[in-house]
């Protein structure tokens, strides 16, 4: 549930990217990053796993059509009514017809549900991460660069947000809200509480950048704050921001799954991993496959993005947290 956000890099930590007016990450750095990611067996595996999961999520409707079943279609032939609706056959009904077996009682195809679940889970996780990163970076950069009253107000707001019992609050908000698009609501609710972590990291970076010579030079040349922030400061903090963004994703996936597990996430029949696991808990002894399939997907997704984020942090923000 908790995302570990490493301590902010102290002032004086040289950011990875180049000098004034450089693009978000210079080509050479992209190449180095890529080479180091690909060169390490662990991060290469994580990268492939993450890419595959994203691909699965994007092509979910196509994949389920390929499997021959819609995620909401019932299949009464695949289950045994005399056994309390348990699937026919071994391993939860794994067959040429149903690749990963079926749900007990309804006979819905697990493969179709788990790939559509990937779509819902990853969509929410990525959208919430986007909200967090954009808000957090904007708040952090403003607090760090402008300082003074802006910094005071924004820092107070960060402290306040961090004092909220976020999981309890999210659960409460998700359960009382009615008649709204659950996916949008969930994205916003998860996104609202995440921004202070990255804002603190960005604030520390911006604080150390604001008196660098090239920033002073740009100011002396008559650049306005907007231009300085977007052309000088932002490119130079993009390394850590990219690393922390990747590290945020697993936390978002877990949060979405936890909320859906508790029954306050997306509503059935829309599948999501957490919700599938919650339904499967009752069957863990009689139909373990039903419990294991969504759990494995969730586990692999969280693990892959964590490993990838760790690797990116080591490459792009070597002094932040882990030397």
């Amino acid at each position: 549930m908790t995302t570990l956000i490493p301590p902010a890099a102290g002032p004086g930590d040289a950011p990875a990217a180049g000098g004034p007016g450089s693009p978000a990450l210079p080509d050479a750095l992209w190449r180095t990053t890529w080479r180091r990611l690909w060169g390490d067996r662990g991060s290469r595996t994580a990268l492939i796993a993450a890419a595959l999961l994203i691909l699965v999520a994007l092509t979910a409707p196509l994949l389920s059509r390929l499997g021959g079943w819609s995620p909401t279609a019932f299949d009464a032939d695949a289950i045994d009514p005399y056994l309390g609706g348990l699937p026919h056959g071994a391993l939860g009904g794994v067959s040429a017809e149903h690749w990963l077996g079926v749900e007990p009682v309804t006979g819905r195809d697990l493969f179709a549900r788990v790939v559509h679940g990937a779509q819902v889970s990853l969509l929410i996780a990525f959208a919430a991460t986007a909200i967090v990163v954009v808000t957090g970076t904007a708040a952090g950069i403003a607090a760090g660069y402008f300082g003074g009253r802006v910094d005071t107000v924004l820092s107070r707001l960060m402290d306040l947000t961090m004092s909220f019992p976020s999981l309890i609050f999210m659960i409460a908000m998700m359960s009382v809200a009615q008649d709204v698009n659950r996916v949008v609501l969930m994205t916003v609710v998860i996104g609202v509480f995440g921004w202070p972590g990255i804002a603190r990291v960005v604030r520390a970076e911006a604080l150390s950048l604001r008196h660098r010579e090239y920033v002073e030079a740009a100011r002396a040349c008559g650049s306005g704050p907007w231009r300085i922030l977007t052309r000088q400061v932002l490119p130079n903090i993009s390394g850590p921001v990219i690393a922390y963004t990747t590290l945020l994703i697993p936390g978002m996936i877990s949060t979405e799954a936890a909320l859906s597990f508790l029954g306050v996430g997306v509503r059935p029949p829309t599948p999501s991993w957490g919700q599938m696991i919650a339904e499967a808990v009752a069957y863990y002894e009689t139909d373990p496959m039903y419990f294991i399939v969504p759990s494995v997907f969730l586990f692999v997704a969280v693990l892959a993005f964590t490993v990838l984020g760790d690797a990116l942090r080591d490459i792009l923000d070597p002094q932040g947290g882990r030397p």
């Binding site: 306040l160 877990s254 597990f261 696991i277 808990v281 419990f291 969730l298 586990f299």
Partner: protein, 328 residues
């Protein structure tokens, strides 16, 4: 130090007030009407109006919020006339479900959640820190890599998955532990611990993995500091360098994290409690949600916020006591 303390406590009051206001407004603005829920299906419009008046729902939102705040500090009377309910300090309202004071409900469940949180915290601190520090001292070695792969994998397992697996392995399959049923510490300490062991392990595994990762990186960073080199150069024994010079300052960021995590757990580990059916605050919260019992939901949220803020203050004061620079 006293000035710092006063300033810090004033800040805390402000934060709690803000959280209280935000929580109240959100629950007020949301559409569910508690009066019609409380009144039942066969409710005449006149009766509904009476109920709304009794609950104070016919008042403007700022008035309701004001009454709620006053109630927390001074207690208040709910409704009027012969059916008025006297709600003493600290009044968090009455549950819509069973008309019991929210405060009593919370205090009834709190020992359970506190038992769960402290037991798990002890376990994860021991496991996580020893794994993290061991890995840091053998950085790059086989043990380090094994521990860290284990930690990252464990941290990726959702607590409900671990819980079910443990339940299967330790209870159903081998019968090593009983199915958790809460026994108060004062009744039977042994049964208390035995029954809570399973939830402790389930909760602690996840946190231990995160703490191992955090303490490892913190320890590595500290051990690379110049003063550690100095301590070594002075000829201090390796043990003294690691424990007195390294560990002490490496644990600072971990301590901050610990305050937040423990604070959040004290007011209920919602998922763990609902999986194992432990009657703690988290379970109370979960049940209250199913029944739209808003006073209870609001009460738990405030209690949780209070614990998080309180834990932060305690940690900050510890910092200030150790490091005079923090006080300014």
């Amino acid at each position: 130090m006293i000035a710092y303390l006063v300033r810090r406590l004033l800040g805390v009051a402000g934060v709690l007030l803000a959280i209280c206001a935000v929580t109240f407004v959100i629950f007020y603005l949301l559409p569910a009407d508690p009066a019609s829920a409380a009144c039942g299906k066969t409710c005449s419009p006149e009766r509904l109006a009476e109920v709304r008046h009794f609950m104070g729902l016919d008042q403007p939102v700022w008035r309701q919020f004001g009454d709620y705040l006053v109630g927390i500090f001074a207690g208040r009377e709910l409704g009027s006339g012969p059916h008025a309910l006297q709600c003493g300090f600290p009044c968090l309202g009455y549950s819509y479900e069973n008309a019991l004071p929210v405060w009593d409900l919370l205090m009834d469940r709190l020992p359970v959640s506190v038992s769960l949180a402290f037991g798990a915290a002890g376990l994860w601190l021991v496991l996580g820190l020893s794994a993290g520090v061991t890995a840091a001292l053998r950085k790059g070695g086989l043990l380090d890599r094994t521990l860290m792969v284990g930690a990252v994998a464990t941290a990726s397992l959702p607590v409900y998955f671990t819980a079910v697996m443990l339940l299967y392995g330790l209870v159903r399959l081998t019968g090593l532990l009983p199915y958790p049923a809460y026994v108060p510490l004062t009744d039977d300490p042994v049964a208390w611990a035995v029954n809570l062991l399973l939830p402790w392990i389930a909760l602690a595994l996840l946190y231990a993995a995160m703490y191992a990762r955090q303490s490892r990186s913190s320890m590595i960073e500290t051990m690379a500091q110049p003063y550690i080199r100095t301590a070594r150069a002075k000829g201090l024994p390796a043990r003294t360098v690691v424990v007195k010079h390294g560990l002490r300052s490496a644990m600072m960021p971990v301590l901050t994290l610990f305050g937040m995590d423990l604070g959040a757990l004290l007011a209920g580990a919602v998922i763990t409690e609902s999986i194992f059916g432990i009657p703690g605050v988290g379970r109370l919260f979960y049940d209250a949600l199913q029944r739209s019992d808003q006073p209870v939901v609001l009460g738990v949220t405030l209690l949780a916020a209070f614990f998080i803020v309180a834990a932060n203050v305690v940690i900050d004061l510890l910092y200030a006591a150790v490091d005079p620079r923090v006080r300014n």
